[in-house]
Symmetry: C2
Subunit: 215 residues, 2 copies
């Protein structure tokens, strides 16, 4: 009897992620999956971007946290449509959570959706959401060895933003070692250095972001 | 027919953790499970402790990382017995990994084993290892809202070490808000503020640690 071999079957999560991506593409919305350690500055980057581009671009935000809605409230106060997902202990967002969130956002009016993942340099890397860009926010006080210790996350990034460069004078961070470690994983990933506190480098980030617009 | 109800059955992990704990107790060794975000300073605290207490106390280290052995090498250069666990993508240590590591440490000569968990404020909280103390290292540049966002981790801590206090003048960190958020979760957990860079507060940490000795 012939044995049926099933190849390239999408996981339930990947299947839902594909549907999310199709819906976003139809509406000309580019979703960015923002991943980082806790406290690296995901919300700060999103807030700085909103302050710079609000009015000029349509921006929506999906906030992922284990608990609390402090981040979605911050975003919402700027007049930006925002959905808060509480995973209730879960260490990553998944495609189904995004699928449940999209109906609450005015997709036809948006250019970008920032999906702020749960603060975690490991598990979020393994779950497709339907985004078209993966952004890793690293930060100076975390140390230059993070790409060596969390290689999967850094390997799959479309862009790495190195935040808190204003703290560089006060900590021991070897920029050359950091860049080399990333190059060893993926020599095509651009790295943009910023400080959300001083505003340094944000122009370069905004220029990169604007170039990704698909509508 | 009577239905058999099984109560309080230990999970496989909890069962192995109990065995680890029994073995450590027999040898009079106190194991500390050190958990934190990536880059909060787990290795720095361990290194500072080794430098202060080596010779006076028997110290062993189990290092957990997704990849690399940089941390175990750092510890080993100080003449301290160290085992590196690479989880190969896994986001937390589990009891079986500790059980496999203990035969490589001279338990009869040790007072303390520092188990440096994978850098992650979520998943490690759910896996017993056989330790008798759970230490969370938070750090100033991560922000004061981490206990609100990662409540399970902070709720279960026996001690919270707030590291990198030397960076407090350069970032916006509300100490009172941080302490209140922890108090709301568990009003008995002590908080010790330190800087591994300047040495500030390390005496208080060492005093706390020495008081935990069981041999």
């Amino acid at each position: 009897m012939e044995v049926k071999v099933l190849k390239n079957i999408l996981s339930a999560n990947d299947r839902i992620a594909e549907k999310n991506r199709a819906l976003l593409d139809e509406n000309g919305v580019l979703a960015l999956n923002i991943m980082a350690s806790p406290g690296a500055g995901k919300t700060s980057i999103i807030m700085s971007t909103i302050k710079a581009l609000n009015g000029e671009y349509g921006i929506g935000v999906i906030e992922g946290d284990i608990a609390s809605s402090v981040d979605a409230e911050k975003v919402s106060r700027e007049g930006i449509p925002a959905v808060q997902i509480n995973t209730g202990g879960g260490c990553h967002l998944d495609a189904n959570m995004i699928s449940d969130s999209l109906p609450d956002l005015p997709l036809d009016k948006l250019d970008f959706i920032f999906i702020e993942n749960v603060g975690n340099l490991i598990c979020p890397a393994s779950y497709a959401l339907g985004d078209r860009r993966r952004i890793i926010i690293a930060s100076i006080p975390e140390g230059d060895d993070k790409p060596i210790k969390y290689p999967i996350m850094f390997h799959d990034a479309d862009l790495i933003v190195l935040n808190k460069v204003d703290l560089a004078p006060y900590v021991n961070f070897d920029r050359a070692a950091f860049r080399q470690a990333i190059k060893n994983l993926n020599d095509k990933t651009p790295i943009i250095e910023v400080s959300c506190t001083t505003g340094e480098g944000l122009d370069e980030w905004l220029t990169w972001l604007k170039a990704q617009k698909i509508k």
